[in-house]
Symmetry: C2
């Protein structure tokens, strides 16, 4: 006799929604990769219809009461967690009224247009008004969400990307990093000042780069039976756990951006593919958090790929597919790939200066959402903190400053901290992985063996757990230590020995 | 004040379903083009969920009564036709119970596997049992559909692809063609017996062939701002009117199959793109029928592309993208492309022998569905009629006979006649088009001008009318004559002057 009819009904509905979202995911991937330019508005209408239908199913009244009945059914611990996650999803879906979501769509459309114009004109004033309007809507949504979850506005946004994370925790971690980072950056750049680096000489034909990227994905254990690599204007990992769609972009005068970008996305992709198949379609089978997703990408892109053993693998791949040249020699390539140089642009930043970019925007977006500052205050704050943290002067140049990233123009607040928490988590996971492998074994491993071992370790410690734990609990369970910036600092000091 | 609330509600629901089907169409296209091999079962589950949801929306009880109320609202003629078409869709969607559809899915799965094995083993007996089971289910579905529509079984299946078409009409047309076709084939083959043809010498690199196909699509007025060309195992036209997705396949030892296949699909694609945008999402904005769709493909592939003026265009395209060779000279190429040779395989058949393949399978499937024969009777009938119509002997060789086509194994009955009715309609449309242009103007036109003029003529006479008329009414309105095989016969006699 079935003793869990209410829970089973909720599970079935969740699987239905998952399947509809899987179709949506392929349509979204297609929109960014192969869709012809003139088909955009028809496609937007089609996908909006499916999104609306999914929203209706999520908040459907037939589900009322089911959760209460399911809670008194005999469920094991995982099912109980899964039920809680379902309830949370339903709360979130119902928290923001449709009229507010519609206002948000319009505000995003206006802010996106304005952002593009402002960035081209290098003029913050063009963006400030539409951003203010959008921030108002986001504040209101965050307030509703916070009321439903018992959280402050910014905490409600954080919680949407990383269950249980809050502003106080982020500020403590980021404050600590902000303390030691400038010193480490200064020390490394002083040490590297006298070093010569060799820039690979192009052109690098697109097909050769693509073959190099495919070879790197193979070395990282990517499963091409359930995934692909294609081209899009902005690289991303899309699709589903059963069909992982990575993208990159190529420029013929440079060959490392696409390659390292693909390694980053392959980290996201292996996490996605490694989620627990037995929980497919259920919230417990979803990724743990945005931070944990980023951590998997960075574990591959920064921790593994910049290690001497894996640089050796990349060196061979580059020489095979783009022809030999001195800059592709392993030691020379390693020196180039670990070059630290403060700069204005986040996505071009090395791993050491990168945290400053995240800290900066996080500080400002917290203040914006909590109403402590307004859109017009952003550039002055940005310029000052950029000087403090990295000594980079972008005054009067907002295109190189707060206009560089697209997130805010899309109404995406509360996501940015994941970039740095992910780096912290990646360092802590990799440190545990190497400790478990043993330093001696590690030094003798080839890059390919190292990659295989890392994949197996992460699958066991992280991927197969899905969303069963919060980021903090999962890191503690995987590494035996609470999540903190310590491993990231250790990592910088170990890799850049002079720091 | 809104005087048509019920009709508007029905329209809105139809648009919603259209949009969901547009997302489904892109997922289906992806499944046939880019989806990795291992992702099939997860994708099937996802798309089945969306299909089930669409079915639920189509037959939703909230719509009950709306049609009756809409019928008494003040509608113009087009809206009234649209309302009738909506009612018909609802009737069809509701006619077959879910349990029968499920039985059908299982029977199709078994028949598909058996068909693949039987074809490989050249053994009808392996297919006969599963086909019998499937035919039983199709008979039952057709019976239900026929009861709902007031039609016999096979007429109900025909009606699903071509509103108002019936067995008696098909038998009259095909009987007439069956009378004169053997004589025409004999006369042309006798005349061509002494002619030498030159076969283009490969290999033909895939990228060159792709460029040639793209050039042909451009010459045919295909809009790449709202469409693409990709590769799949079986060529098809997918996507939506706003995003037309053609596919083809390449083999390096042959260069005309892909090119002519793309020209065929480009005809389908231009029809799809040319459907009336003001009726997007409504049944009136759909294609008229399967026959009319096929007619557009054949108007481009056979009527236009085999004309001396357009062969000149193809000759230039082939020489540009695959290099010059004697076989690509216009007159030599034209001779090869109009070569008539009876053979066993439908998809390899020239335009003159092609009707025989359609007549043959149509005769047999009518008898199968109406219960006049059973699956075991098929091979003997096939072999005899193949001898009668084309003098081709495939006795003891069912892989070259009834096992050659996939349709029946998918439960697709009632579609086949569209291949020949489409050829009749294409000939009749092209004859009217050339009459309206004037023979003198036609002879002086370049192939590209001819193509442009044909596209404009078809857009005006056929595409923009969507499903407002039946195939018969649309042909009569476009050509001033009732649909008949006369133009097809005239066309054969004119192009193959010795016939």
């Amino acid at each position: 006799m079935n003793q869990t009819p209410a829970y089973d009904a909720l599970r079935a509905r969740r699987l239905q929604i998952y399947n509809l979202e899987a179709v949506q995911a392929i349509a979204s991937w297609d929109r960014m990769t192969f869709m012809p330019a003139g088909s955009g508005s028809a496609r937007a209408a089609a996908q909006a219809e499916l999104a609306a239908l999914i929203q209706t199913l999520q908040t459907s009244e037939e589900l009322d009461g089911l959760a209460a009945r399911a809670a008194s059914e005999p469920l094991n611990a995982n099912d109980r967690t899964n039920l809680k996650l379902m309830e949370r999803e339903r709360l979130v879906a119902a928290a923001v009224p449709e009229a507010l979501n519609t206002r948000r769509s319009h505000a995003v459309a206006a802010a996106s247009d304005a952002w593009r114009q402002a960035r081209a004109a290098n003029d913050w004033a063009l963006f400030s008004g539409p951003l203010s309007t959008l921030v108002e809507v986001v504040r209101e949504s965050a307030q509703r969400l916070g009321d439903a979850l018992g959280l402050s506005r910014y905490d409600a946004l954080l919680d949407g990307h990383d269950r249980g994370l809050n502003r106080a925790q982020v500020e403590q971690w980021f404050g600590e990093i902000g303390q030691w980072l400038p010193g480490i950056v200064a020390s490394i750049t002083a040490q590297q000042a006298a070093e010569e680096v060799l820039i690979p000489q192009g052109p690098f034909p697109q097909e050769g780069q693509r073959q190099a990227c495919l070879a790197a994905m193979t070395a990282l254990g990517f499963d091409f039976e359930r995934g692909r690599l294609d081209v899009s204007a902005h690289p991303f990992t899309g699709g589903t756990p059963d069909d992982v769609r990575l993208t990159t972009r190529y420029t013929e005068d440079e060959c490392l951006s696409a390659l390292l970008g693909v390694i980053h996305e392959a980290g996201h992709g292996r996490y996605q593919a490694g989620l627990p198949g037995t929980w497919r379609g259920q919230p417990l089978g979803e990724p743990c958090s945005a931070s944990m997703h980023e951590a998997q990408a960075l574990a591959f892109e920064r921790q593994l790929a910049l290690s001497p053993a894996f640089v050796q693998v990349l060196s061979e791949i580059l020489q095979t597919h783009l022809g030999p040249q001195p800059a592709f020699e392993p030691r020379i390539l390693h020196r180039l790939m670990t070059r630290v140089r403060p700069g204005a642009i986040r996505v071009d930043a090395d791993e050491v200066t990168y945290p400053a970019h995240v800290i900066l925007r996080t500080e400002i977006e917290i203040a914006l959402i909590e109403g402590e500052i307004e859109a017009g205050d952003v550039p002055a704050l940005w310029d000052q903190r950029m000087l403090d943290l990295l000594g980079v002067d972008v005054r009067g140049n907002p295109a190189q400053g707060p206009l560089q990233d697209i997130h805010w123009s899309l109404g995406m607040f509360g996501y940015f901290p994941a970039y740095l928490i992910g780096a912290m988590a990646a360092a802590q996971l990799f440190q545990s992985f190497t400790a478990s492998t043993g330093a001696a074994a590690l030094d003798q491993s080839s890059g390919t063996e190292l990659s295989r071992a890392l994949g197996e370790w992460l699958e066991d410690k992280v991927w197969r757990h899905g969303a069963a734990m919060t980021t903090g609990d999962l890191i503690a369970s995987a590494t035996g230590q609470p999540l903190s910036p310590t491993a990231l600092k250790d990592h910088f000091q170990r890799r850049y020995a002079g720091a």
